[in-house]
């Protein structure tokens, strides 16, 4: 079932094209990782997908409705975790959640119950009556996420929800995202932290300069740029391996020896690791094996010629 789709969506700011003919389908139960550097158009895409920003051309369909995709009925099914921490500092954690639950029409006992559940989900039950001013950055982020969950949205949009927080809080949030997926929530997750996408996304969309430049499962995307595989063996005595024996294995391109390390470079998908290992073990002892595979960062670099994050953004 398609939750949301965009066809030929164009958004301009004057002469600057923020979204350039975006075609996108989001299916129920997916976690889509929307990846791109600052200014790629991720937030603009979210803005147009949720009706916050009008677009210049194309169509947006939400929950099968293309005529009135941003109706109140559809909005009740969407949750937005904003990039900024959009909570009320003068209200307690519980009151913040009561506010957002109330805005989504929850009342009385149902509202109380949802607020309790969500506080527990984000691990803030014991902080319910405290003001966010007393919270750490990670706790504020978790409350920010909780505010989008009070009405149990079936489609959750998370716009860089982990910016500027410690690794523990980040892991907590990522685990929470997986739990939401397990409950059947469809999630669109934008970030420029590649490791987050690798940890949670079932499908990845890479954006750059307002365009979707590639999409697919993380494995598929890596496959598209993977031309060779690299395996390094640490052995007890490399001299004892007969010269040329490894080079003869099908798919092997090169063999490099440095000290006790032998590095074998093969064609991608050669599936010759077993053969290499048996030849090496026949002649000498194996102390360790290391494989090097490309990741999504390499995919992004190959596609755009740029790193995903500026050096200043690295944590």
């Amino acid at each position: 079932m398609t939750i949301a789709s965009m066809r030929g969506v164009v958004k301009r700011y004057g002469s600057y094209v923020a979204l350039d003919s975006i075609d996108l389908d989001i299916h129920a139960g997916e976690i889509i990782g929307l990846l791109g550097p600052n200014g790629a158009g991720k937030t603009t895409l979210i803005g147009t997908l949720t009706g916050m920003r009008p677009f210049d051309h194309g169509t947006v369909e939400l929950f099968g409705q293309s005529k009135h995709p941003f109706s109140h009925e559809n909005k009740e099914k969407i949750g937005l975790v904003t990039q900024e921490i959009t909570i009320f500092e003068e209200l307690t954690a519980k009151e913040n959640l009561q506010f957002f639950a109330g805005v989504y029409g929850l009342k009385g006992e149902v509202r109380k119950q949802k607020v309790r559940e969500v506080l527990e989900f984000v691990g803030l039950s014991d902080q319910a009556n405290k003001l966010p001013t007393k919270f750490s950055g990670g706790m504020k982020r978790r409350l920010n996420i909780a505010c989008a969950l009070t009405h149990s949205p079936s489609f959750l949009i998370m716009d860089e929800p982990t910016v500027g927080i410690d690794p523990q809080s980040r892991n907590y949030i990522l685990e929470g995202v997986k739990r939401l997926r397990d409950r059947g929530t469809t999630i669109l997750y934008t970030t420029h932290y590649i490791e987050e996408i690798e940890a949670i996304a079932s499908r990845v969309i890479i954006m750059d300069q307002g365009q979707i430049i590639k999409e697919g499962t993380p494995a598929d995307l890596i496959q598209t740029i993977q031309h060779e595989e690299k395996v390094s063996f640490e052995v007890t005595d490399p001299e004892r391996i007969p010269e040329g024996s490894l080079e003869k294995i099908a798919g092997v391109r090169r063999v490099l020896t440095a000290g006790n390390d032998i590095t074998v470079i093969s064609d991608a998908g050669s599936g010759n690791l077993d053969r290499m290992l048996s030849i090496i073990k026949e002649h000498t002892g194996v102390l360790g094996i290391q494989t090097e595979r490309p990741n999504l960062e390499d995919v992004f670099f190959t596609l755009t010629g740029r790193q995903l994050r500026d050096k200043g953004e690295e944590q």
Binding site: M52, E84, F88, Q98, F99, V103, Y104
Partner: protein
């Protein structure tokens, strides 16, 4: 009415606001009377300035919501921007009207000479809405509440002086008095003079009508800025 309820709660959420919205107006009841000017006791003459300041203090809630992105989040929720704005303004209006009632009827209880207290209450209510609309229009052009408030203080001082709230208009040159007609504070001042002089009801309706006209104009200006 979630926004309304929480807007009230947020308005009274810190000690400064609590003092400003409760004890501060009460203090104005005890201001002395002037010998020749103003026509009402000083506290009542200056109360319009208080309303202008409290209005900006209250409406900065909307400014903060916009600056922090709360309005953006609400844009995705099943609530229109109009409803969000109306509920906030309703909460602020309730606070302002209650203050007006405390000052006017508190004064009556304490035996302060207010000539026609019900008409004064009506005038203050009209000016409360004008103040609210001015503050809404003002915050719509700022992103930071600090700069909005600081510049507004200068503006209010100017409005208070030129409108005749801080000193008698008669001491100004004729040209300035003509310009003063353009300021809402002038009409508040005229209203207070009417209350002391017991003029025709038509004049009072005209004064309130001008204040409501300002309210509508500033309300339209202030409500056009939405999310960005």
């Amino acid at each position: 009415m979630t926004v309304f309820k929480f807007s009230l709660k947020r308005s009274f959420s810190n000690k400064t606001n609590l003092l400003l919205l409760t004890l501060f107006p009460i203090a104005f009841i005890f201001f002395p009377e002037g010998e020749y000017w103003p026509v009402l006791p000083y506290g009542y003459q200056y109360f319009g300035i208080v309303l202008l300041f409290i209005s900006i203090r209250l409406t900065t809630i909307i400014l903060v919501d916009r600056a922090k992105g709360v309005v953006k989040r609400l844009a995705v929720a099943p609530i229109s921007y109009g409803s969000y704005l109306c509920q906030n303004l309703l909460a602020f209006s309730v606070i302002l009207v209650m203050q007006c009632a405390i000052v006017v009827y508190g004064g009556v209880l304490l035996g302060v000479e207010l000539y026609q207290p019900h008409w004064l209450m009506l005038l203050y209510v009209s000016f409360s809405f004008t103040s609210l609309a001015i503050a809404l229009a003002w915050i719509s052009i700022f992103r930071s509440k600090e700069s909005a408030f600081l510049i507004y203080m200068s503006l209010v001082t100017l409005l208070a002086i030129l409108g005749g709230l801080l000193m008698p208009l008669q001491i100004f040159p004729e040209a300035l008095i003509r310009i003063a007609v353009l300021f809402p504070t002038y009409w508040l001042n005229q209203g207070m003079s009417w209350i002391a002089s017991e003029g025709s009801v038509g004049d009072f309706i005209l004064i309130n009508g001008v204040l409501w006209l300002y309210t509508i104009i500033f309300m339209i200006l202030g409500s056009t800025r939405k999310i960005h």
